[in-house]
Symmetry: C2
């Protein structure tokens, strides 16, 4: 399947999670074996353009594509999680939301200095989480060489927040 076919498979759910928001539901893509395989292959193809030592996946839907990419590239996978979920020593990064702030964490020993990292998530929206994840990689001494997403909501201008990064989004809306 090509990108325009894949875009049609994403389901619009109106008024989720709040009234007025049209939610892009990726479960209709995940449940379709051809769409899942094509999406995965296209993101993997982009990752192969870089020399990648580790894949970081952002909880929880970044885990979905992060692990198969790590398996195919034959590198390790590192989860970035919400506070309090990772059991060993962590480094934390706080980022702004529309109202208030949120944090994400990475295991301190997860990335070695100089390692080149691909950061994976399902959705690039405002870019806050992705920027924080890239910062965490840098705090560990790693280099976030690529941030790759299944979907980009271009009107939220997440790319501007990540302007010095290599960004790839498979499907833009």
């Amino acid at each position: 399947m090509n990108v325009s076919e894949l875009k049609k498979i994403i389901r619009d759910v109106p008024d989720f999670p709040k009234e007025g928001i049209i939610f892009k539901d990726i479960t209709t893509l995940l449940i379709n074996p051809d769409a899942l395989k094509s999406s995965f292959d296209l993101i993997l193809q982009e990752c192969r353009k870089y020399s990648i030592d580790k894949v970081v996946g952002i909880e929880s839907r970044g885990f979905i594509l992060g692990i198969p990419i790590a398996l195919e590239l034959n590198v390790g996978f590192v989860p970035v999680r919400k506070p309090g979920k990772l059991p060993s020593e962590t480094i934390s990064e706080t980022y702004e939301l529309e109202y208030g702030t949120d944090s994400i964490e990475i295991h301190k020993d997860a990335i070695k200095p100089g390692e080149k990292v691909a950061v994976i998530d399902d959705l690039l929206a405002t870019g806050g989480t992705a920027k924080a994840a890239c910062n965490l990689v840098e705090k560990c001494g790693g280099e976030p060489v690529l941030a790759a997403f299944l979907i980009e909501l271009t009107f939220l201008k997440g790319r501007e927040k990540l302007k010095d990064r290599n960004i790839f989004a498979l499907l833009d809306f």
Copy 2:
């Protein structure tokens, strides 16, 4: 890597999430490319013994191995999530915790009647979540033919709660 080598790679974290609990940390396995590949291959090999139409992964660490298994089996992936996370119409199942109850949800249209389903999670502990996930599959008309886990904490006797199911756990502690 074989099972006894893989068991050594799981990290024990004492007093997480509470004092007195020794947490089995799988991140040390995920970060090791050989361990990740070996674990994945061994669970996949078990899944191939069944005719599987869909893979269900339980949020959030069931997403980790669920998607690559779905990709390899060339079937769809269905997430089971905590309440309020799935955007479209859901079916819910409540299960008991030590104190109180918890719920998980599946999209109502995710499993077709008669489909054979593998339920995947990282950990079989008391079996409450896995049992609830199998019940959700049955509520959709599907047949949970296998529940597969990376780790089983045998002293918590989760298998007893799932006694009529086919269970596979790669690493037991």
